[in-house]
């Protein structure tokens, strides 16, 4: 399984500040969130099979698998959510860094 990403706003550096377009990043975050929300709502829930096919191993397998599929979808949702949150936090961090840099430049001029 791929290792977890270590991405966080703390990893942003000076290079990023110079190469980021906050509007593009925010737009990506919003689009990702929207697609995640709409697809999650469309999938909905499914009633247990085992209640209507009692005693069948296939029914038990269907319900176990549905739980696994649900967890996999939740993981995908959670990853995209983490991505969008971090993107927004990064934009905020970039803005702060930009402000600080601007203040520094003004301070140097005076």
């Amino acid at each position: 399984m791929p290792s977890e990403s270590r991405w966080s706003p703390r990893t942003t550096g000076g290079v990023d500040v110079l190469t980021v377009d906050p509007a593009a990043l925010l737009g990506a975050a919003e689009a990702a969130e929207a697609t995640c929300r709409s697809t999650t709502a469309a999938i909905g829930d499914s009633a247990p099979v085992v209640d209507r096919v009692p005693g069948a191993e296939t029914a038990r397998a269907c319900d176990e698998i549905e739980a696994d599929v649900g967890r996999a979808i939740a993981r995908s949702t959670s990853d995209i959510g983490r991505w969008t949150r971090a993107a927004r936090e990064s934009v905020a961090a970039y803005a702060q860094a930009d402000d600080a840099a601007e203040r520094g430049i003004r301070g140097g001029r005076s």
Binding site: M1, P2, S3, S5, R6, W7, S8, P9, T11, T12, G13, V15, D16, T19, V20, D21, A24, L25, A28, A31, A32, A34, T35, C36, T39, T40, A42, I43, G44, S46, A47, V49, D51, R52, V53, G55, A56, E57, T58, A59, R60, A61, C62, E64, I65, E66, D68, V69, R71, A72, I73, R75, S76, D79, I80, R82, W83, A86, A87, S90
Partner: protein, 571 residues
């Protein structure tokens, strides 16, 4: 399946079709999510670069992989669930038909399928001129109906079991790659190979069997477990992984077709050429994984071979390790680590072939020394992302970086320790052989943790092994081994450039072995190793070269190795 005729007659199997329909929705929506997320992050690389951006792209890639794996799995689940519905409905109908026919002939069918004549039939039999004969005929007929109903029931049980297993297999494939395992069986595996061996031995046969069934992906990758356990677990996954990557390939091709249909121009619309290229890259990756798996199958053709590692998921490349001979019961073991440009699909079969020659030569030398009872195992290890040179891929910058070797060293060290743990009290004589960039990986692995259990290190065609020659501690102490050897061919360009420190031949304490043509102690005239890839390869005359003979001598610990007589590269 549990329950009998009464339970089966009450089944509402349309629940399976509903579930199939639900998974169809999952498939469609997750495909939309995949495309939507793809489009959302598409083009960001033009506007965002740096360390945070790289981490973000990595996370997005993993998420896209997971999402497409759900699409592929849901697709299979739809097919298999519909098939399960058809099969179970047919089996259920066969049971109900048999019951109905028996009842229409005056027999009563119990829940377990056993059958007896009704009171009416018994009354008629009692009133017949020969009641005993009539009772006997009724008894025989009841027995036949019991068999008919019983057969239909047992067939349904078998179908039910098969359908459930098929569905679970699909889900195991899902779990193999990229999906969440939270809530699945947690065996609480210890961290160290030594503890893992003890943990495995502490499990009951049932627990071992359960793990082998449920988590072959886990067992196959656990350093410290018995080699035959890892081998069975890894082999059991090959077909499933092949199906998985075939489905992934098909899904990415579908995505590409959808992207093209949305924006045939690919430049001015919402879908840029970059997005298309990403999908093309994903297609290439899935295709490579399939070729890797084909190579693994080919490498396993032959006697006494063990698939000790298989991972198509974790790294940029597939990772695999194949042994000839079981290292758990061997007296002499070698682990050969490949270098620059090695891949599973391009190199594994060749490396295993070279390992076979090495083993045969080691066995010959042991036989000549009257030590033929000593057993030999050789391992080709491609358990890391060796640097590649490819169009659009990593270039020279990656090759001259230690990063790949440093990451691979941790896993190789764990592999060494796993061999040592699984070999147990036998305490095999272990040689770590590193070719090219693999010599750096091997050296760093030996330096990573001294508990590796390796006795000898041999570097050949080495661009440097990342050791410090200015330290007061000898090289054997730095690597934690008894002896260190080097072989450098006179015209090997890779070994002439000290990319990662001096050539090992220039390090005090490293014994330089010959790569020249020679007549070895067994009287065979052997070719020299001239090119970078010659060292372990047999020559045109079918014999290993002097360098290959030397590797076998180190492996078998015969002391037959031929020393280098000309001066080697200087530090």
């Amino acid at each position: 399946m549990t329950g009998g005729v009464a339970l089966i007659s009450g089944w509402r199997l349309d629940a399976l079709l509903e579930r199939a329909s639900h998974w169809q929705t999952v498939q469609e929506q997750m495909r939309l999510r995949h495309i939507g997320y793809h489009l959302a992050i598409n083009g960001l690389s033009d506007n965002w670069a740096g360390a945070a951006a790289e981490e973000a792209y990595t996370l997005a890639d993993h998420t896209l992989d997971r999402t497409i794996s759900i699409v592929a799995t849901a697709s299979q689940l739809v097919t298999h669930t519909r098939e399960a519905h058809a099969q179970l409905e047919s089996g259920r109908q066969a049971v109900l038909d048999a019951v109905q026919r028996a009842e229409s002939r005056g027999f009563r069918v119990h829940d377990d399928g056993s059958t007896e004549a009704t009171a009416e039939r018994l009354t008629v039999a009692a009133a017949s001129p020969r009641p005993d004969a009539a009772f006997n005929r009724l008894q025989e007929e009841a027995q036949r109906w019991s068999e008919v109903v019983g057969y239909a029931l047992s067939h349904l049980v078998e179908v039910d079991r098969e359908m459930a297993e098929q569905l679970r297999q699909v889900c195991r494939d899902l779990l193999l790659v990229g999906a969440d395992r939270s809530g699945a069986f947690d065996p609480s595996v210890p961290d160290s190979p030594e503890d893992r061996r003890r943990w495995w031995e502490s499990l009951s046969p049932w627990e071992r069997g359960d793990l082998a069934l449920r988590r072959p992906d886990l067992l196959g990758s656990l350093d410290g477990l018995p080699t035959d356990v890892r081998d069975k677990a890894n082999r059991a996954r090959i077909d499933g992984l092949h199906r998985f990557w075939s489905d992934i390939l098909a899904e990415h091709r579908s995505t590409l077709a959808e992207l093209d249909a949305r924006d045939p121009g690919g430049v001015d619309g919402p879908v840029t050429m970059a997005a298309r290229q990403e999908v093309l890259d994903a297609i290439a990756r899935a295709d490579t994984r399939l070729r890797d798996l084909d190579a693994v199958r080919e490498a396993l053709v032959g006697d006494d071979r063990y698939l000790m590692h298989l991972d198509t998921d974790t790294g940029a490349q597939t990772r695999a390790a194949v042994a000839i001979g079981n290292p758990d019961v061997a007296d002499h073991v070698s682990v050969t680590t490949g270098g620059i440009t090695t891949t599973v699909n391009g190199s594994l079969v060749g490396m295993v072939g070279e390992a076979d020659h090495l083993r045969q030569e080691a066995i010959s030398q042991l036989r000549a020394a009257d030590r033929e009872s000593e057993r030999v195992a050789v391992i080709a290890w491609l358990g890391y992302d060796a640097p590649q040179i490819a169009d659009g891929g990593p270039g020279v910058v990656d090759i001259i970086s230690r990063d790949s070797a440093e990451r691979g060293a941790v896993d190789l060290n764990g592999f060494f320790r796993g061999l040592d743990a699984a070999n147990g009290e036998r305490d095999a004589h272990v040689g770590a052989f590193g070719h090219s960039y693999g010599s750096l990986t091997t050296s760093l692995a030996l330096q990573h943790d001294p508990g590796h259990g390796v006795d000898n290190a041999v570097f050949y065609g080495s661009p440097g092994v990342g050791t410090n020659i200015f330290t007061s501690s000898p090289i054997t102490e730095q690597l934690g081994v008894d002896a260190v050897h080097d072989m450098t061919g006179p015209h090997d360009p890779v070994a002439q450039i000290p990319w990662f420190g001096v050539n090992p031949a220039g390090i005090p304490g490293v014994e330089q072995l010959s790569t020249d043509p020679s007549i070895t102690p067994d009287g065979i005239s052997r070719d020299g190793a001239d090119q970078h890839s010659d060292y372990a390869r047999p020559a045109d005359n079918g014999h290993l070269r002097t360098s290959g003979y030397n590797l076998a001598a180190i492996l078998a610990d015969t002391g037959n190795e031929v020393p280098q007589r000309r001066p080697g590269p200087q530090p």
